[in-house]
């Protein structure tokens, strides 16, 4: 899929090639016939929105996932990456945003864990010597005998890099390595990357920061919806063209909805902040209004929602709900105040999977299901659950069947039902359609729409841009815990939102 001629220094035999890789999880096609070619001594950036398939691709490159079809070639010969240990042996290593070190082992042990000398004994002397030599060669001053606990994130990353060097990695994947680094630390990392490139290492670089990508890359590849869109030398790409390719999909079934007449203010948030999560966030949601929260993963959108729901309360700022001060210290208080939170993680935070859908739906407001002698009325529970089953088209043999056995889309509808059953004034939706199929997605959209029309105030956190843009009356864009922009529906285009989310807005 090479489009233009590659720069001279990388115009050699590729070190790694992915040919027509496909991977599905259930009904979700994470990757569809993706090809990628990596050359030695190259920094190759991968761009794409959340869910474009980058993570799946690197998991396949490092042997964490096996592709459903397609082939991986190293030095022109087909290989299988059976596990991440296998990939490391073959010279493919990865560094993640959060380094995976063992805090109770020392620096040298961390560098050599998993690939010490053969035989049962550790050769401590040679291990320390070799570690010191590697760290010295990349200009990092850390005591190799110090324990890894208490190292800064940047130091931890240099240990990961040292580990990759000790593995003699020829392909090094760096997944958002700068996301939690300071500007100075990032500079050091960039020097290291260029240094590694000088040694002939092929670096796959993933970052949401366009400036970094365009400063460092030799090649820029764009993914969208699990497909490879383009691979071009840096000189042939601009940030604008890359963003256009990242978001440039058809709008599909979603037509922008008519604005619902907005009356009273339900939620008003003034300069809300929480240490290490978000700062100075202010907005209002009126009755019947949908306010979309756009931004990259980790931009602090979920943290704002969790603060309003009392899970991780805000440290600063004020919020009012229906005109009354709103500072919940627990989810119970938030629920009693009229807020519902449909979590993005329906398995971990949303549903009790072994329990039936009727039991899940009644759980937040069990007090309302009182029958004879104050006992739990299963009849009422079943009636309510059945009503939601009809309204939301939940496909299940019985509302008494455990939700763990349902499909993702149906689980999502049960989760929605569970929270609608609390009859909230404000509904916070966090990634309400992640990982569910197209049909269920359209139904959920339709339903969100109806709820707003009935006067519910809705806070919609979503990384699915078309979803945010078509459903929202206003779009609030966040980046690294800061509110970058609040756009009216007419001003909110995919390009403008992405530019704010990646810090490229002028």
């Amino acid at each position: 899929m090479q489009v233009a001629a590659l720069p001279i220094e990388t115009h050699r035999r590729p070190v790694m090639e992915l040919r027509n890789i496909s991977k599905s999880f259930g009904a979700t096609h994470a990757l569809q016939s993706v090809s990628l070619t990596l050359h030695p001594a190259e920094i190759h950036s991968l761009l794409g929105e959340n869910g474009a398939g980058k993570s799946t691709l690197i998991k396949i490159m490092t042997g964490v996932h096996q592709p459903d079809s397609g082939a991986i070639h190293l030095d022109g010969a087909p290989v299988q990456m059976a596990s991440s240990a296998d990939a490391q042996r073959k010279g493919v290593a990865a560094i993640y945003q959060e380094p995976l070190l063992f805090p109770d082992l020392d620096v040298a042990e961390n560098i050599f864990i998993g690939h010490q000398d053969r035989g049962p004994f550790t050769r401590w002397a040679s291990m320390y010597e070799e570690s010191a030599r590697i760290l010295d060669s990349i200009g990092v001053q850390i005591d190799v005998r110090a324990s890894a606990r208490g190292l800064t994130l940047a130091e931890q990353q240099s240990i990961e890099i040292a580990k990759a060097i000790s593995l003699k990695a020829r392909v090094l994947i760096m997944d958002e390595p700068t996301a939690s680094l300071s500007a100075y630390e990032s500079e050091r990392l960039f020097q290291l990357m260029q240094d590694l490139r000088g040694r002939g290492v092929s670096i796959v670089f993933i970052s949401h920061r366009m400036d970094e990508v365009f400063r460092l890359s030799d090649t820029v590849t764009v993914f969208r919806d699990g497909r490879h869109i383009s691979s071009r030398p840096r000189a042939a790409v601009t940030p604008q063209s890359a963003i256009a390719e990242m978001v440039g999909r058809e709008m599909g079934l979603l037509a922008p909805r008519a604005t619902t007449a907005a009356e009273g203010v339900v939620l008003s948030v003034d300069r809300l902040g929480r240490d290490g999560a978000f700062e100075d966030v202010s907005f209002e949601i009126r009755k019947g209004e949908i306010v979309g929260f756009a931004g990259l993963v980790g931009a602090g959108r979920t943290d704002v929602g969790l603060a309003l729901f009392g899970i991780a309360p805000a440290h600063r700022g004020r919020a009012t709900l229906d005109g009354r001060p709103h500072a919940p210290r627990s989810p119970r208080q938030a629920i009693d105040g009229g807020i519902a939170y449909v979590s993005e993680d329906r398995r971990q935070l949303g549903l009790s999977l072994p329990m039936s859908s009727s039991a899940n739906i009644s759980l937040p407001v069990l007090d309302r299901f009182r029958g004879m002698l104050g006992m739990l009325s299963r009849k009422k529970e079943a009636e309510v659950a059945d009503e939601f089953r009809r309204r939301l088209h939940i496909k299940t043999a019985s509302v008494e069947a455990p939700v763990g056995r349902m499909s993702g889309g149906n689980q999502q509808k049960v989760l929605l039902a569970k929270w609608l059953n609390t009859a909230p004034r404000l509904l916070i939706l966090d990634e309400p359609t992640r990982g569910i199929d197209v049909g269920a997605k359209a139904e959920v959209h339709q339903f969100i729409w109806e709820l707003a029309a009935q006067g519910m105030a809705i806070m919609l956190i979503s990384s699915d841009l078309p979803e945010v843009l078509s459903l929202s009356d206003r779009v609030l864009v966040m980046r690294e815990g800061k509110q970058m922009a609040t756009l009216d529906r007419k001003d909110a285009t995919e390009q403008v939102v992405m530019a704010h989310a990646t810090g490229q807005a002028e």
Binding site: G26, T28, Q348, L366
Partner: protein, 345 residues
């Protein structure tokens, strides 16, 4: 948690009934005069103590915790209640039972407080209190025993008291007391709103917190109730044996946990029933008393209990998963719906 169809949990309970029946038949062929009211009473007096403790243990295990101190609590309650009764022969029976339950509840509160407020894992907390409670017992008793001679006559005669006779089978008062308590607990777990809380907290504590449930209060009350049930079992132990040494009810933690897991309560919390645990207690009591009559060494009995726990937990994860999968696939074929749930990438 009721199902219209035969759920894996029900299969577990039905197969347990079958195993109990087979065990009884096997013992009946080996032991002369096994199928007699005498055997029934002997086994029942052992089963009820295990079953009552197992009911409390079930609540604890449902919330993803464990209570290793039940044996020590039962021993303490039996001894202290015995000492109180020895000193005050005039104490009314109902008050004696209430006192026993209160002492147990107090000890359960210690466990609960340490787990919930000090945030110490329950396996460590109850391992510690198991030793501490037993130590208190040794200290306060001065290693002296309670004997039948010190106790009021109503208590000494209680194990023989019969409330109902079916043919030549007598239902003893203590069996009735245990049955009523267990049935009340089972009903409470299925019809009370708080019963639902135990399952919700155990099956997904994070989601329970997110849903606004009082997670810590639920866990605390599980330990409290386990203590209360141990209190009742302590009273029963006192009545059953009359003689209480500092070693009373040692090993009951193993028996109760065996009953719970054999009865199909998920050791990782969130699933299981009091009825299941009671069936487990019946199996274990039957095996113990019958093997005892065959003069099998106590050490082998303990080893058998350990083996039962391992088999039960292993079959739980393997068998139940297989059964689920099988049913899912069968259902999917029937409805031509995909059984697979999608995995987030």
């Amino acid at each position: 948690m009721n199902g219209l169809r035969l759920r894996p949990e029900r299969v577990r309970e039905l197969s347990l009934l079958a195993i109990i029946a087979i065990a009884v038949l096997v013992f009946a062929t080996i032991i002369d005069g096994y199928l007699s009211p005498r055997t029934f009473n002997r086994i029942a007096s052992s089963v009820i103590i295990i079953a009552v403790v197992a009911a409390g243990q079930t609540l604890v295990v449902l919330t993803r915790n464990i209570d290793l101190s039940v044996g020590a609590m039962v021993g303490c309650v039996a001894y202290f209640t015995g000492a109180l009764l020895a000193a005050n022969h005039g104490l009314p029976p109902v008050l004696a039972i209430a006192l026993a339950v209160a002492i147990g509840t107090l000890m359960g509160a210690v466990n609960g407080a340490l787990v919930v407020f000090a945030r110490i894992p329950s396996i460590i907390v109850t391992l510690g209190t198991m030793a501490v409670f037993r130590g208190l017992l040794v200290e306060f008793s001065g290693a002296k025993s309670i004997t039948t001679a010190n106790l009021p006559s109503w208590l000494v005669n209680l194990p023989q008291m019969t409330v109902l006779s079916i043919g030549s089978f007598d239902v003893r008062a203590m069996v009735a007391l245990a049955l009523v308590t267990i049935i009340l607990f089972q009903i409470g777990m299925s019809v009370l709103r708080v019963g639902r809380h135990f399952y919700a907290v155990g099956s997904n504590p994070d989601a329970a917190h997110f849903t606004g449930l009082p997670v810590r209060r639920v866990i605390f009350s599980a330990f409290l109730l386990s203590g209360a049930m141990s209190g009742l079992a302590g009273f029963m132990t006192l009545a059953r044996f009359g003689t209480i040494t500092v070693e009373a009810a040692m090993g009951l933690e193993l028996e109760s946990i065996a009953a719970v897991v054999v009865g199909g309560v998920n050791i990782f919390g969130g699933a299981g029933s009091i009825i299941g645990a009671t069936l487990g207690a019946i199996l274990i009591g039957t095996l113990e008393q019958s093997l005892f009559r065959l003069q099998i060494n106590q050490f082998w009995l303990d080893a058998l209990l350990g083996l039962l726990i391992l088999v039960a937990v292993a079959s739980d994860s393997v068998l139940i998963t297989r059964l689920r999968k099988f049913w899912n696939e069968a259902r999917a074929k029937r409805r031509r719906l995909p059984a697979a749930t999608d995995t987030p990438s």
